[in-house]
Amino acid sequence: MHQSPPFGSLAKTAIGPQVVFAVVYFAATLSIEPGRKPVARGRDETSPEDIYRQHPQLSQLLRTEFHSLVVGYSEENTLYNYLPPFPARIHSFVYLCDESERQQFSKSLDFLGLLVKAPQGSDELTAACLRYLAASKEDKRDFLVSGGRELSRLLAGEPQRLNSILKRIRP
């Protein structure tokens, strides 16, 4: 609980021989029963941790979930920047990509096309994803400039959106 991957980070899961990559765009800690809202607690406690100690059932009644947007998959070491033919299976394990996978994935910037056009996507997400991928790069600035240029092409008719993303990714 409370350990969702960062907003804009890259997660992966396997579908047979395929590894699907997805960008985390939503994370929340909610009640396991839909419609049942958590009650405010801890009036007499000194720290939030004390609440969980006093009410151990809370960790069973609440859970943290995150949503991610599929932006590509790889198969036999080839990366495809479009949607995989099948969805991920239930109970597949999901991992956060390690640095080498992030490097590999960000060699092509074509995933930005899916990101800026997806209904679940947002300018905040695009910016966060670029910042997240840039962090693992040695040439951080160059990567962000290339990302920005790719966005300039994708958002050719939307200067306002482009401006707002660029302001969020400047190093």
Partner: protein
Amino acid sequence: MTQGYSQEGKRLGIVVAGSLSQGIEIKLDSQVSIEDMAVGRYVSIEGKKKRFYGLITDVRLGAIDPRFSINPPDMSDPFIAEVVIGTSAFGTIKVLPRIIWDITSSAMQRTKTVPQPFQIVSEATQRDIDLIFGSEDEKRLVIGNPLDMEAKLCLDLELFATLSNGVFGKSGTGKTFFTHHLLNGLIQKSKAVSLVFDMHSEYGWSWRPQGSHQEFKALKQLFPSKVAVFALDEENYRRRGLSPDFIVRIGYDQIEPADLEILRETLNLNDLQVDAIYRIRQRLDKKWLKEFLSQGDQGSIGTLAGQWRENESNLEAVYRRLTKLRNLPFVVQEATEDSVAQILHKLEAGISVVLEFGRYRDFTSYILVANLLTRRIYDKYRETTEGAKGDSERPRPLIITLEEAHKFLSPELARQTIFGTIAREMRKYNVTLLVVDQRPSGIDPEVLSQLGTRVAFRLDDVADIDAVLSGSEDKSELKTVLSRLETRQQTLVFGHSVPMAVVVEVEPYGSPDYYRKFGFRDATEIGKQVTKDIEELF
């Protein structure tokens, strides 16, 4: 010669639009700064089967969406500026492709098509320039380097000498330097002999440009055995410690009515008086001028008028106006030696002639002498050419350099003066003109259109720019290029002797290396050579 497709020059961008008539539009790559682009520069466009060469004729800014100009990005941030330039906002250049290098047949052609979309555009390299203009050899002269390039650019003197040509530009732009350079090249490479009407005494021994302290060596110093100086003003020449090869004197009997007709403005002659002069010539024959003036001196114009049934006051007026010729010291009753014959003699021997006017730089002297001499030289050339049975008998090509050419070639005079005839008849008789002028708009358009190669330095007046470019196929594009030339040392060369128009940063004149290239050795060098020769001999 170039065969491969390899891109050697710096990549500039890609072809995005265009047409054969309007030119090709090229979007610059983001790493190419638009501020480094300049009209007049050469680029090459790599096609699938052909390589296109052209001149940048316009530089423009573009934005991917018009809203960018209303709501511009924050360009003070270097990151945003780096992203946006070249993508959302970009530079475009317009290129006029004029020459195609066909890779499959290894042949140069005129452009008849355009490259495919999105082909790569690069800066032209020395190899490209050599391919288009050729490299220096016995008939090609290096005239400078193309704009913003290190490459050497050559002019084909053989082609140059076949037609009349023009060098234009306002004063102080370097047209005299360039004319010198051309003449040096023509004399060194012996493509033609030159006759220079040197109104400002610049082409003989040396000259000092306005506002400069440096003295530059002229033709006689560089080519002592290939150039003869004829002086109209002996005193002026001797005052400089020099002695001319010949002193030009013009006898009255050498002056023809046609020579005076073109002086009608300076001598203030009207139509009636000009007609009367022609009739006097008919009646008095060869010595008409001497005879008529002496009759006038004796006060017998009235008697003549009676005899010839001429209007007396008209004849009196003619007499008064013709006496002005006596103010010209080089016009004498009878010339002891025939200057024209002397000049022809030199020209036939392959020696170029510079005619220095010295102090007599007024237009009356200049027009009278230039027209009179040229008419007779031209007649002689025509006779020889018409009598020639084969090419070997044809006289050596003669290039007459004419400064202040608009004085001879104005629309009113071009039909009367011999220069108009030479310009129009072109190379028929192996005589061509090298017109040097700062007011091309004053020259008859028909004459301008006959000029083979035009060298245009900076011109400010729109009428002059229009005149220089008249009849050129890319007039509107070249106009942009021409009006953006620097005030000095930059020129646009286009026409017959260059495969395509080119902006040239002209070869600097006057360095010791420059003189040495044309065979000049100074006294110390000659001294060393003599010592060495003596040592070797003994």
